[in-house]
Symmetry: C2
Subunit: 202 residues, 2 copies
DNA sequence: ATTCGAATAAATGACCAATATGTTCGAATA
DNA sequence: TATTCGAACATATTGGTCATTTATTCGAAT
């Protein structure tokens, strides 16, 4: 295995350990010592791989985000129609987070990680990717004639924020009620998008 | 004029002055002395009307919110159909805030005043009212057959949060782009609500 | 009932020392 | 040569005291 490759793997294990420790103690209280201990290595060794604590946090979180995003992307790739892709995107993102305790804990500790204000978002690159993904689904749906021809450039970021809001609520208050909110929220947005040739009242 | 009535008026002027000072300096930096000076009265006199600084802030903001809400309610009352009411609600709320510099400044200083998490919302009563207003419009629309029969109890709070998000964005970044986002956001939600018997593609 | 000035209580900020933590570095190792 | 480590160094945090500011109370005056 090439050196650079080996290093990459090592860095990933460091991020994983860091994520775990940060999830438990939060950025302030977690120490480099804690993370080194988690890895069974000396503090100083870490500095062979990272610049400083802040960067470690950012990169570790970014890594967690990217992993999340990859899973969602894979799930979407398995679908053909835009409408299905939209639904799968929403549900998979939700489901993945349900299974990643650490990332969830970090998100709950520090909701500002999600971009309320895209301008000051430390993970803008990743979130831009998410919005791009959403954008492509919207465009596909519009091309295929199942979505209304909305202003994609304006609507995609909004929908992303709305989704973040839904996720935050559902995980902050994981009760029946918020579960329903999530489903109904997705349904509302999807209905806003869809073109319905004919609709019967009931 | 009755004593209690006179007192009420006085309290309102105090709230108004407080709002102005808090808007300029923020809660921490604004002092009771500043507010007293704004009113041209002794600090101690304020304590005849208020309990403490914190309460003054909360009540002053609540007063500002209520005023805002009243204006929106009035505008809605002038409309008949649910769909129009919905639109007017969104636009009037936006427009009112545009005209109230102090309230806007306070909101921008402290976005948490708006309930991301309804549970820990200090103005839950007022926001409950807002959601109730929205709920009644939704129900009316559903009864009248122009809105889909959504789960109002789940959708109303979500729409409220979404609206808060739109407002925050638009005022935090008052540029062309966000203006468009506001309009498109409202349009998306309204489309999600509406029943369209027939729709032609174009 | 309402206002005020003076007095008191509580919070805040500046400063310092002690400790904990982040970061660097040269020697050791594989 | 790439990687690890322990010790040394630098920086940040904490706890504690004092001085100052600010919040709040109270009795006298209107």
């Amino acid at each position: 295995m090439r050196r650079a490759q080996k290093r990459e793997i090592k860095v990933e294990t460091i991020y994983k350990a860091a994520l775990k420790v940060f999830a438990e103690y939060g950025f302030k209280k977690a120490t480099i010592g804690d993370i080194a201990a988690e890895l069974g290595t000396a503090k100083s060794t870490l500095y062979f791989y990272i610049k400083d604590k802040r960067e470690l946090y950012d990169k570790a979180v970014a890594c967690g985000f990217r992993h999340w995003q990859d899973k969602v992307r894979d799930a979407i790739a398995a679908e053909k129609e835009a409408e299905r892709q939209f639904l799968v995107m929403a549900r998979k993102a939700y489901e993945y987070l349900a299974g990643d305790r650490h990332l969830r804990s970090i998100l709950m500790r520090d909701p500002s990680l999600f971009p309320l204000h895209p301008a000051q978002d430390p993970y803008s690159e990743i979130n831009r990717d998410s919005i791009a993904l959403l954008t492509s689904i919207l465009e596909k749906g519009i091309r295929e004639g199942c979505f209304r021809p909305v202003n994609v450039a304006a609507v995609a970021p909004l929908m992303f924020s709305f989704y973040v809001l839904l996720i935050q609520r559902t995980y902050m208050f994981p009760d029946e009620e918020h579960q329903i909110m999530f489903e109904d929220g997705i349904d509302l947005i999807l209905s806003g998008l869809k073109i319905r040739e004919k609709q019967s009242r009931e």
